[in-house]
Symmetry: C2
C-alpha cells in the first residue's frame, strides 16, 4: 500500500506571507497604543452583542427552522453539528497568527538552553533581531522555528507550556492576553447554538494541541470537539511510564480542502452550519452548504479598522478573496464586523 | 518541514497472517454448522449477562469508585472517557476480520465491471478460487484487494455499500449477519458506563468509515466517537457539487502505539477506562492505566471454543500474547469469556 503525504505548502506559504508582519511588531516594538471601543453585552436576549441586521436575522431564522419540531426543516439533535474556524473567526489573528507568536516567544525562551543557536541559522537571526536575514530563510526558517517550539516534549509538557504562555504573553498592539482577544458575539453564538441542541466543534488550521489549551475554558468546547492540524506523536516508555512525544513531522494539515476531509474522518457527519473568515475555510463552507435540507454558512468579514483590523483580499494573514466572492454568489451570510457587532473584544 | 509516513507494516502483516484462515472458509465452503448456547439476558440488574466473578466485580467496583461524589476516586463526568477496541472486543473477529471478508466479497461483486481482473494479479487468483496463488502475492495482493474495495468512491457511496453488505452478508460458520456477532455482555457494559456518565469511544485498527456504518445502530456510539484507521480523502467538485473521494492511500494506522497517539490527537484526554483483546491494544491499555487516579484496563480473553472461538498466543487474528502477560503482571482485569459470560452472541 503506497503512502504519500504532500508537504504542507499552503500552510507554510501562509506563514511566510505572515512573517512579513513580524518586521515591526514582533521583533521590534513593544505594545502599541490601539484603543478599542467596547460595549458591555447584555445577557438577556440571544446574540445581545449583535446589532439587528441581516446577519443576526439569518442566524435566528436558521436556528428556528432546524429546531422547530414537526417543521419542514427540522433536524434531530444528534445531527446539529456546527463547525467553527478559530483564527479570525473566534479570536483575532493579526498581525500574525497567535500560534506563530507563541513559537517565536518559545524560541527566545529556549535560547539560553541552546547556546548553539547563537551561530545556527535561522535562530541566530531571530535572536539578534535581524528580521530580514530570518525571513530570507523562507520556508526552512519558519519550519525550523515551528519544530523547535512544538516538538521534543511530551504532550502533557506541551499543554503546560502553552497554558503558561497564554497566562503571561501579551498582544503587541493591545497589550491584552491573547485569550482576551476573542469575539464576544461569537462566544454568544456558540452558547446560543448549544442552548438549541447543537454540538459545536472547532475545525482550525492551527495545531490541535495548541487550541485545546484554552478551547474548553474560553469557548466551552471540550478537547474531543477540537479538530486542528496534527503533528506526529511517538509512544514511548520513559522509566517504564508511557509518554507521547511530539515529533517535528506533520501528520495532517487541517486547512482548505483538508477541513472537509478532517470533518468527514473525525466527525463522520456533515455539519449543518459552518463559520469561517478566510479562503482556508472555503471548502468547509462549501461542504456544509451542499448538504441536503437547510444549511447555514457564514463568513466573518473583518471590516473594523478602528476596533480591530480591516482586511480581506490583500492580507497575508487570513486572506479572504475567493470565499467572499462565493459567499456573495451562493448566498452565504457575511458578517460586517463594523456594522454587525456591538462589541469586538470583551470589556477588560 | 519534513513529512515522513511509515508504511503500515503491522496492519498489513496482520492481514497476511489472517489470510491463512481464508483457505477453507472464505474461498471454499459455505456456512458451517456451529451451534451456540445462548442465554437470554435479564435487563433488571446491570451486566446481567455477566456471571458473578472477579471481572464483573472489578467493573462494578471501579465504576462505584469514580462516580461516588466526594469519594477519594471521584472523576468529573467530562473526564469519564472509556475507549473500546472493536474487533474481538465488541464483536467477533474469526476466522478473519469482518472488514477483510467485506473486501473479498466486494472484489467478487465488482468483478463483472472489471473484466481485466480475470487476467490481472492478484484478482485472477481470487476470482478463480486459487487461494495459494493469491496468498503468494503477500502484502501486495492484500493491499490491492483493500484498495479496490475501499477507494474510488465518495464517502457517502462507501457508507451505502457497507450498509448493504452488512444487511445481506452472512458469516461463513454461524450463518448470522455480522452485526449479530456482537457480544451482549459488552453491549450491556457500554450501556452501563453511559448510564454512569461515561462517554464511550471506539478506538479500532479497522477503517473508521467501515465501523461507522453500524456503530451507532449496534453499539449506540455516534460517528464522532468512532476512531479507526484512516484512508486519505480528496475533496473535489463533481458537476459543481463537493465530494470527498476515498483514495487508496493510508492516512493513519490506528493500531498498537497508534492507538494512544490517536486518542491524544482526536480525543485530547487520557481515558480512565480501556477495553481490548489483543496485543494491538496493549499500548492503549498502558496509556490508560498509567494515568493518575483510579484507572481500569480490561482484556477480553477468548476462551470459549464451544460458543465462540478459543485463541490467544498462536492466533494470526487477534493475537493475545504480550498484552496477556502484562495484564497479569500489572493487575488488569482479564475476562474469561467461557467462565464470565452467560451469553456470547445475541439470541437469534
Amino acid at each position: 500500500m503506497t503512502v504519500a503525504v504532500s508537504r504542507p505548502r499552503p500552510w507554510v506559504r501562509q506563514l511566510i506571507l505572515a512573517a512579513g508582519a513580524l518586521l515591526s511588531l514582533v521583533l521590534g516594538c513593544g505594545p502599541g497604543g490601539g484603543t478599542h471601543r467596547r460595549t458591555a453585552a447584555s445577557s438577556a436576549a440571544p446574540l445581545a452583542s449583535w446589532n439587528d441586521g441581516e446577519a443576526k436575522a439569518a442566524i435566528l431564522r436558521f436556528v428556528a427552522t432546524v429546531t422547530t419540531p414537526g417543521g419542514p426543516g427540522y433536524v434531530p439533535t444528534a445531527e446539529r453539528i456546527a463547525v467553527f474556524d478559530n483564527d479570525g473567526t473566534l479570536w483575532a489573528e493579526q498581525p500574525i497568527h497567535f500560534q506563530l507568536a507563541f513559537a517565536l516567544d518559545r524560541v527566545r525562551a529556549l535560547a539560553p538552553r541552546h547556546p548553539e543557536w547563537r551561530t545556527q541559522e535561522p535562530f541566530n537571526h531571530l535572536l539578534a533581531g535581524d528580521t530580514a536575514a530570518f525571513l530570507a530563510g523562507g520556508e526552512h526558517a519558519l519550519a525550523a522555528v515551528m519544530a523547535a517550539s512544538h516538538s521534543g516534549m511530551s504532550t502533557d509538557e506541551f499543554a503546560a507550556i502553552v497554558k503558561d504562555w497564554l497566562r503571561t504573553a501579551r498582544h503587541p498592539r493591545t497589550g491584552r492576553p491573547y485569550t482576551s482577544m476573542v469575539y464576544p458575539p461569537m462566544l454568544e453564538l456558540l452558547d446560543y447554538l448549544r442552548s438549541k441542541g447543537f454540538k459545536t466543534f472547532i475545525v482550525s488550521g492551527g495545531g490541535v494541541e495548541f487550541i485545546r489549551a484554552f478551547a474548553d475554558s474560553v469557548y466551552g468546547i471540550p478537547p474531543e470537539q477540537v479538530i486542528g492540524s496534527q503533528g506526529k506523536l511517538r509512544f514511548e516508555l520513559r522509566d517504564g511510564k508511557p509518554q507521547l512525544v511530539k515529533l517535528p513531522d506533520v501528520q495532517f494539515v487541517d486547512d482548505g480542502p483538508g477541513k472537509p476531509a478532517a470533518i468527514q474522518t473525525l466527525i463522520g457527519r456533515r455539519p449543518i452550519a459552518a463559520f469561517g473568515n478566510s479562503d482556508g475555510d472555503q471548502q468547509m463552507l462549501e461542504w456544509t452548504w451542499a448538504g441536503t435540507g437547510d444549511r447555514f454558512a457564514l463568513v466573518v468579514h473583518h471590516t473594523d479598522a478602528e476596533r480591530e483590523w480591516a482586511y480581506d483580499r490583500g492580507s497575508p494573514v487570513g486572506r479572504l478573496d475567493k470565499a467572499l466572492e462565493e459567499a456573495r454568489s451562493a448566498g452565504w451570510t457575511v458578517v460586517d464586523m463594523k456594522a454587525d457587532w456591538k462589541q469586538v473584544f470583551p470589556a477588560e
